[in-house]
């Protein structure tokens, strides 16, 4: 009998709809549930903040040879200090009751505070990874979307070029280009703003812009190919939208998940490449340190000062590992289809 009672007011009211989440909100919720990726995210935030803020707060500069004071003779007791060691001059200051900021990782052979060099090297490595990925993103996105959208001969030509660049042994080409650009650019840029950045760093970015965009372009092209046949593109077309408008406003926003994920995974691989080149002596210009060049310099003195090698090596591994884990987490959260294995 109860079944035939008229419905109460609360029952007839439309059920509260679940708040519809935006794409990024949805992904962020999924990312937060992934403990590994979330931890990696925090580690990266800490490292980035440290690399950005610490140099401003530290009493020593990365290129400051502490034993060299203008007008005084060189003080070699600053060189090659062990972690938390002090030079003779600093001991005198401490005895006199002054406070001396400790050299947490000691100093290097030229008396430069090693901690701040590692921090600065981290900053350079992160910056290289970030900007190189942005370059790859921009080139890959534009070429890939043009190839995918226009199709036909444009696509064919672009994809043949992509095929060839893709089958080039990239690391060897990077080494070749960097070793040449290094000497070619340094004479061309001497005296300009660019020379402060260092010819090696510029050649590194150039190389990324020339070679590493192909995977991104392939990925974007594939996405655009499937998207461009959909109704919303037809509707935009019939409303009179131009090709580049459609690409910009309709197609690219629809493959943003893929783009975010592969850019995130590009950063650690760029850091990898930079540290590799720096290790071979083709990275950033001295006295600017990068993690790879610090490790490379320390290799010669591994018997006496192993910590100088182990510290930058650990930092690189930590950065690359957490970026990889975060990238994997982003992929699972934003683009589960892309999962490889």
């Amino acid at each position: 009998m109860e079944d035939f009672q008229p419905a109460l007011r609360e029952e007839t009211a439309t059920p509260p709809t679940a708040r519809s989440d935006s794409f990024f909100r949805d992904g962020a919720v999924r990312l937060r549930k992934n403990k590994v990726a979330f931890t990696a995210f925090f580690v990266i935030i800490l490292i980035v903040l440290g690399a950005l803020l610490l140099p401003a707060l530290w009493p020593y500069r990365y290129d400051q040879m502490l034993g060299n004071t203008p007008g005084k003779p060189m003080d070699p007791s600053f060189n090659d200090l062990p972690p938390f060691g002090y030079s003779a001059t600093e001991y005198k200051k401490i005895e006199a009751g002054e406070k001396v900021f400790p050299h947490i990782f000691g100093t290097d052979a030229s008396g430069r505070d090693y901690f701040i060099r590692v921090v600065y090297g981290t900053r350079i490595s992160l910056a290289v990874g970030f900007f190189a990925s942005i370059i790859v993103l921009l080139v890959g996105l534009s070429v890939g979307s043009i190839a995918g959208f226009f199709g036909g001969k444009t696509d064919l030509t672009i994809m043949r070029i992509v095929d060839i660049i893709y089958s080039l042994p990239d690391t060897l080409m990077v080494i070749l280009l960097s070793s040449v650009l290094k000497s070619a650019l340094s004479s061309a840029f001497s005296g300009t703003v660019l020379s402060r950045l260092g010819s090696n760093l510029i050649s590194l970015f150039l190389v990324f812009a020339l070679l590493y965009w192909v995977s991104m372009a392939r990925l974007i092209r594939g996405q655009i190919l499937s998207l461009r046949e959909q109704e919303f593109v037809l509707s935009a077309r019939s409303a009179g939208a131009g090709a580049f408008w459609i690409i910009r406003r309709h197609l690219i926003p629809n493959c943003i998940g893929v783009v975010v994920v592969s850019t995130a995974l590009q950063i650690p691989s760029a850091i990898f490449t930079e540290s590799y080149l720096s290790f071979l002596g083709l990275g950033v210009n001295a006295p600017m340190p990068s993690l790879g060049s610090l490790a490379s310099e320390a290799l010669g003195s591994i018997h006496s000062y192993p910590h100088r090698l182990l510290i930058p090596a650990l930092v690189i591994s930590l950065i690359v590992l957490s970026l990889n884990l975060l990238g994997d987490g982003l992929r699972d959260a934003f683009d589960p289809k892309q999962r490889e294995f």
Binding site: I164, I175, L176, S179, L181, L280, I302, L321, F341
Partner: protein
């Protein structure tokens, strides 16, 4: 017929790639102030004369390019080294390869064997302790550049517990470089095998095999592993590329007298003919291995169709 067309296309791409590498190498080197054969530093008179005669440096660029290309294709001749007197680039590369190729092959063999075993174990013990352990280790190793792994191993086994020599030229000195080179590919192959194994184990034909009463071993070796191997074949080419680039730093770290080490020293002392020659030889090696692994993949699994 389709296979044949694919093979032809694939070989053509490989040849084209090698030609691009040689051309790029030749013309990019022209950006060096003073040209690659002269460099910035003064040369010995004999090296200068040899180069002048060899490449006709006074002749127009296209002609020099054709001479360079022809010498490589017909005689594997990359000219004399600028920094090592009286030795040709080909000779230095040949000697280096004699050291590096056995090293690389050993690393590749170890990586394949260890990777397949570990991957199969991880897949069969999915989400249990061995799997978790293997996955944690491989995740770490794929995130470590080879020079980091190399320096850690050097520090651990040659300095802290001196049980192995640090110098690659000494007896037993090849162990550490081989292990360093093998670690990344091992980790990669392990992950690859694990995922393709999991894929295969979920297939109907495995259930059928089990249902008709086959033993676990027969299913594993007769059915599962055979099919799980396919994706691994595609990695064999990239693995060689990885080992080649890895050997540049690894030979540096362990002072091994191979091609990687002479390449790196030619970069730092700007021995341009040497840089060009090594780049070309190593590129040919990598492109050929990629070609071979693609072809083998195609031949092993006729289901695969390429566009």
């Amino acid at each position: 017929m389709q296979t044949f067309a694919y093979l032809l296309k694939r070989i053509a791409l490989a040849v084209l790639t090698i030609w691009v590498v040689i051309t790029l190498t030749f013309f990019v080197m022209r950006a060096v102030p003073g040209g690659p054969f002269l460099g910035e530093k003064a040369l010995t008179q004999e090296a200068m004369d040899a180069l002048q005669a060899k490449y006709g440096l006074d002749k127009p660029l296209p002609q020099q390019y054709i001479t360079y290309l022809k010498d490589i294709v017909t005689r594997l001749d990359f000219g004399p080294s600028l920094k090592q007197r009286g030795r040709t680039v080909s000779k230095i590369i040949g000697q280096g390869l004699g050291v590096s190729v056995p090293l690389g092959l050993a690393a590749a063999a170890i990586a394949t064997a260890a990777g397949l075993t570990l991957g199969a174990v991880a897949a069969l013990r999915r989400n249990k302790l061995p799997d978790r352990l293997i996955m944690a280790l491989t995740t770490t190793f794929v995130s470590m550049p080879s020079f980091i792994i190399g320096t850690f191993l050097l520090y651990l086994f040659a300095i802290e517990l001196p049980i192995l020599p640090a110098n690659g030229a000494m007896a037993g000195g090849r162990i550490l470089p081989i292990v360093t080179l093998a670690l990344y590919p091992t980790a990669y192959i392990t992950r690859l095998t694990r995922s393709s194994m999991l894929d295969v184990l979920g297939q109907d034909y495995i259930r059928t095999a089990r249902a008709k009463g086959l033993s676990g071993g027969r299913i594993l070796f007769g059915h599962a592993l055979k099919n799980a191997l396919l994706p691994v074949i595609t990695y064999l080419g990239p693995m060689i590329a990885n080992i080649v680039t890895g050997s540049l730093v690894v030979e540096q770290i362990f002072a091994t007298p191979g091609i990687g080490r002479s390449f790196v020293s030619s970069i730092s002392n700007r021995d341009y003919p040497m840089i060009m020659g090594t780049t070309i030889v190593l590129s040919v090696l990598i492109v050929t291995m990629n070609l071979l692994s693609d072809i083998v993949y195609k031949l092993v699994d006729p289901r695969i169709h390429f566009k």
